[in-house]
């Protein structure tokens, strides 16, 4: 793999940029692999990368039904943060944020990580008390968080309307939180994994999972049958569908979560702002678009398109807090299928089928977890033991009643 550098840029500029190489190989699929990962989104690609780099597994395939990062990896609002309430979640998501902080260097790819701060608003005294408890819990987990007064918020975000129908009473900020470029995350992991010998096969839908004597033996795909020693599932909204093929059930409801962007405008919002009560989160991308999201369409759906009522709610909430945005037009709107668990905590680790592993239940917050998800799943697949950061995230927690209730940590209620 040729690295990116100032020198490479100059060299390619001299030759009129005609000699840049594709980021990853497009190999023919082989008949047998040590590890097959289903799903070439951020989690699948990161898992393959860490398996190759940290655990020396080289005979890996990542199979993708569509194209790289075309699912939820390319549909989210790019937020990275670790302001989670429970210690298990805080440790996991802060590991992820720390990996994000150095991802550009590690993968030699600009993922445009911008730690501009994630500001969570409170609209009543009681909610502010709740945020205070939340912010303190985060600090106990050794993660940065600061309470903010309305005056401090106004200074940080001058466009905000504090005297909205639900007035802003305060909030808290995680300054290390921020946004990055989701496509770049998928592409950089794909490029680095491919360079380490990982076969990334797109347009290769898995139609069945082969199991013999309680252990996985391979997968059937539309490009033929493949033998695999170990198989990892990282398919976001389709986790239930794949689990059913492997013969077990999961506590997941798939729903559409929409997001939208406005036409590009000049830089005016350099903080990520979210409001749990009036249901919206907003940031401005490097291209100048106002990126907006809110609650999910709360009924089962695999449709990848959002309904008008939720879209209206999102926009109304945005305009309540930022009346100045009322004249700008929405440019695009889309939806991704999110796999929501009863406790809003992911399901990671082993499954009832031997040598079959799962990374799912990411719900509305999978993007921020990509580096840690890949790192811990790679360890889990390589050693057949859950990584210490995800021991509490296993499927068996539902049987034990050991749920990790992060219902409020998704930022808005879903």
């Amino acid at each position: 793999m040729k690295g990116y550098s100032a020198f490479a840029l100059i060299r390619n500029a001299v030759s009129d940029h005609r000699h840049w190489k594709p980021l990853w190989r497009s190999p023919e699929i082989k008949k047998s692999y040590d590890v097959v990962i289903i799903g070439a989104g951020g989690h699948g690609l990161a898992t393959a990368y860490y398996l190759a780099r940290k655990h020396g597994v080289r005979n890996i395939a990542v199979l993708e039904k569509g194209y790289i990062g075309g699912g939820n990896t390319g549909r989210n609002t790019q937020v990275t943060r670790s302001n989670y309430y429970w210690p298990q979640s805080a440790a996991f998501f802060d590991h992820s944020l720390k990996l994000y902080e150095h991802l550009g260097h590690e993968l030699n790819f600009n993922v445009m990580m911008s730690q501009r701060g994630v500001l969570t608003l409170a609209h009543s005294h009681h909610e502010l008390e709740g945020l205070r408890r939340w912010a303190n819990a985060i600090r106990i987990s050794d993660i940065d968080s600061e309470l903010m007064t309305p005056a401090q918020i106004k200074k940080l975000v001058p466009l905000i309307n504090l005297d909205a129908r639900f007035p802003v009473c305060g909030g808290f900020i995680q300054r290390r939180g921020g946004i990055s470029r989701h496509d770049a995350v998928a592409w950089s992991y794909a490029r680095a994994a491919s360079a380490l010998g990982v076969d990334i096969v797109q347009q290769c839908e898995v139609t069945d999972i082969d199991i013999a004597n309680g252990a996985v033996t391979g997968v059937k795909t539309i490009q033929g049958n493949i033998h695999a020693e170990r198989v990892g599932i990282a398919v976001a909204g389709h986790t239930s569908v794949l689990a059913a093929k492997a013969g077990f059930r999961v506590p997941i409801t798939s729903m559409g979560l929409q997001a939208m962007v406005s036409e590009p405008i000049k830089p005016c919002l350099d903080t990520m702002v979210l409001s749990p009560v009036i249901h919206m989160y907003v940031s401005q991308s490097d291209r100048g678009e106002i990126v907006l999201g809110g609650g999910a369409d709360v009924y089962t759906s695999y449709a990848q398109r959002g309904g008008i009522p939720v879209m209206e709610e999102n926009v109304a909430a945005l305009l309540e807090l930022f009346p100045a945005f009322s004249r700008i037009r929405l440019m695009r709107q889309w939806s991704g299928i999110v796999d929501i668990t009863p406790d809003t905590t992911p399901i990671m680790g082993k499954t009832p089928v031997q040598n079959l592993y799962i990374s799912g239940g990411w719900g509305t917050g999978g993007y921020k977890a990509i580096p840690a998800g890949g790192d811990t799943m790679a360890h889990t697949i390589a050693t057949d033991e859950p990584h210490s950061l995800i021991v509490d995230f296993g499927l068996e927690r539902f049987e034990r009643g050991a749920l990790i209730d992060e219902g409020s940590a998704s930022g808005v209620a879903h």
Binding site: H238, S240, V241, R249, V250, P251, I252, T253, S254, V298, Y299, T300, S301, Y302, A303, G307, I308, P309, P342, F398, E399, R400, G401
Partner: protein, 95 residues
């Protein structure tokens, strides 16, 4: 936008309703294992395609009812009352 035919009030917009999850889940006896109880409590079919589900008409008659709906196309095939058996619906499987 879903247009849901409430058996009592007629067809209304989805914003009047609340989704109530999968229908026809049978509560097991109290002597089952933890695994069986967890399966009843948490696990879902979550099908890609035809789903039998419950809806509640919050801003209407305040009644629960069942809907057979496709989770890919969002097409509503049949609406039927609580307590009624799952209707047999011949549909093309969507995947």
């Amino acid at each position: 936008m879903l247009r849901i035919p409430c058996p009592w009030c007629g067809t209304r917009d989805e914003i009047e309703f609340r989704f109530g999850g999968e229908s026809h889940i049978v509560r097991p006896g109290l002597d089952v294992s933890d695994a069986e109880w967890a399966d009843y409590l948490f696990n879902k079919e979550n099908p890609k395609g035809l789903q039998y589900e419950r809806w509640y008409h919050t801003y209407g008659c305040s009644q629960w009812f069942n809907v057979a709906r496709d989770t890919v196309t969002h097409e509503i095939h049949v609406v039927y009352k609580m307590g009624e058996a799952k209707p047999d619906i011949a549909i093309t499987v969507c995947d």
